[in-house]
Symmetry: C2
């Protein structure tokens, strides 16, 4: 491939000028600029990004560091994929390069994130599926590389950290309210993992809804399905042995699937005997029998917003601490009014 030298030579100028022409410097005569582009087109030249990356001070590559993408199940893998596509799209929009680092949660988590970034001149990262107490995350922060976190919170404010997610509290309150408005009172909550941010946010939303209705939510009505279909199935099955709630409010669609199975297995009908709601907007939740009412997240947009936020950070622009992405309550047929 033609290099900058070839263009310079053929255009009868020095490489410096060619470089500046391609980087839109103002201090070049229109004539030579024209000439340079003309020659460049002839030679089919376009600047080598690797070299550019090495010599330039500005970092133009974004790292997407994601845990759980490789071992996500077939039912929910499209979440990761949508995030990825959103990130890719927004990254490409502005000529940034994207470097992907997938961490397999099983294996001893390979190389440190910081090392990954430093080796590749990565100037900003998007982290998904990691935890704030991840030692590699702490290390990454020490390098002063901006980070945008998806679906988790941060305890202390940090100049180089931003977060993006839906308003989990609000969304959760919304779907709980939805159930309460349909006169459900004996609602069992299929929560996720106790440590997870989203779990606690969603729990908060549920409590808020109950409070608004002047209702209390006894601890024993909260089950922890660990965001797993199988565990949720087991927990629901167990619970149904000596309880008969009018509804299950689940903190993920995956768990809702498990609950749906358990309910059916108990000889109960959905939604006639028991209503079920999910959370996330998995594709499959729209094709179960009955299809499940849920909160649909726009993961593509989450990815996009994350990528745009990290770009702003890299460019030193102002950026909100937390970016909320819209969500939507999708009414399907898994809930009946009492």
């Amino acid at each position: 491939m033609a290099s900058i030298k070839d263009v310079a030579k053929k255009a009868g100028v020095s490489i410096g000028v060619v470089s500046r022409a391609f980087n839109n410097y103002p201090d070049i005569s229109e004539k030579t600029r024209q000439k340079i582009f003309e020659v460049a087109k002839e030679l089919n030249y376009s600047p080598n990004i690797v070299a550019k990356n090495l010599s330039s001070k500005k970092q133009m590559t974004i790292g997407l560091i994601s845990s759980g993408m490789l071992d996500s199940g077939e039912k929910d893998s499209h979440i990761s994929f949508d995030i990825f596509k959103g990130v890719y799209t927004a990254t490409k929009e502005n000529q940034y390069e994207l470097a992907i680092y997938l961490i397999d949660s099983q294996e001893q988590r390979g190389k440190s994130y910081a090392k990954f970034c430093l080796e590749r001149n990565i100037g900003g990262t998007i982290l998904q599926g990691i935890r704030t107490d991840d030692p590699y995350f702490e290390e990454l922060l020490d390098t002063n590389i901006p980070c945008v976190l998806i679906d988790i919170g941060v305890e202390k404010e940090h100049e180089l950290i931003r977060t993006v997610s839906i308003d989990n509290v609000g969304a959760s309150r919304k779907i709980a309210t939805y159930l309460l408005q349909k006169n459900h009172r004996d609602i069992a909550i299929m929560a996720g993992k106790r440590e997870a941010y989203v779990n606690n946010w969603r729990l908060k939303g549920v409590y808020e809804a109950f409070e608004e209705f002047n209702l209390s939510l006894p601890e024993e009505r909260i089950l922890y399905g660990e965001f797993s279909e199988e565990i949720a199935y087991q927990k629901a099955k167990e619970y149904l042995k000596d309880h008969k709630p009018t509804a299950f409010l689940c903190f993920s669609d995956l768990m809702a699937l498990g609950v749906l199975d358990a309910v059916k297995e108990a000889g109960l009908k959905v939604p006639e005997d028991i209503s079920i709601t999910g959370f996330d907007g998995l594709m499959i939740a729209g094709y179960t029998n009955p299809p499940i009412t849920t909160i649909k997240q726009n993961f593509f947009e989450i990815g996009q917003q994350a990528a745009r936020a990290v770009q702003r950070l890299m460019e030193g622009k102002e950026t909100e601490k937390h970016i909320f992405v819209d969500y939507e309550l999708i009414e399907r047929r898994s809930v009946s009014a009492l």
Copy 2:
């Protein structure tokens, strides 16, 4: 981050030696090698891939060029994702870098593949979802960059081209035979796009199966659903107006979904009145009512094999012209025996 200079200085050697130590050159005394690695660990040094990429002659980055990943539907997007994961995994195994180029089939297909590769010092590519008559593909070949194609064939042998897919002819013959063995005779074929390689391979397999049973397959029993759920639905609906086949053999699960809808809408039962088979192994096809018997492809492995093949090509090793990945006939409940 520490650079090679820092290590050299602290270890009391020149950068040349450090470089050679890290690249496993034999001509270094064990003592200095030890010393260098020791210092490197202290400084938390690891070679900058960008610089390495620029200075080194060997290309260590693989390009994944994929059309249709961005605009794949929610039901079949996991195909692309699985391929991607397979490619990623195999790429990482051997310290190759991965550069991804997603082409949106709507937009005017952006930059040429060749340019994309040249700009990034990409030494080998994996192409998915593109067509052999794509002008950018031809251009890419001219650059002498090895290409591995997924799910398409090549007319003429080419030193730098390899292809990977399942044995579509065999798989198709297998599922057709499966239907024939269950005494289905009036089988309608929901084929894909006439131009697509996979379509023609699958068609070939079907013909082979019919021949084996000494049966003929009249042209009018072949419908073209364009690999689209909606079009397949329309075609099936139309067809059912004046035909009542005992089975629909579909060239994709997506089309099988459309056909399933059409059959149900016609007041017919699956599989009692009409049997249906799919192709691909989409997740959703396992959760329809009834779940659909299909050929399951292992897209993860397809991606893996493609990545390994391109590596072999890049390393100048022998590689088979076409790599066949295993598939599996999954029996579910959409087919009845007559």
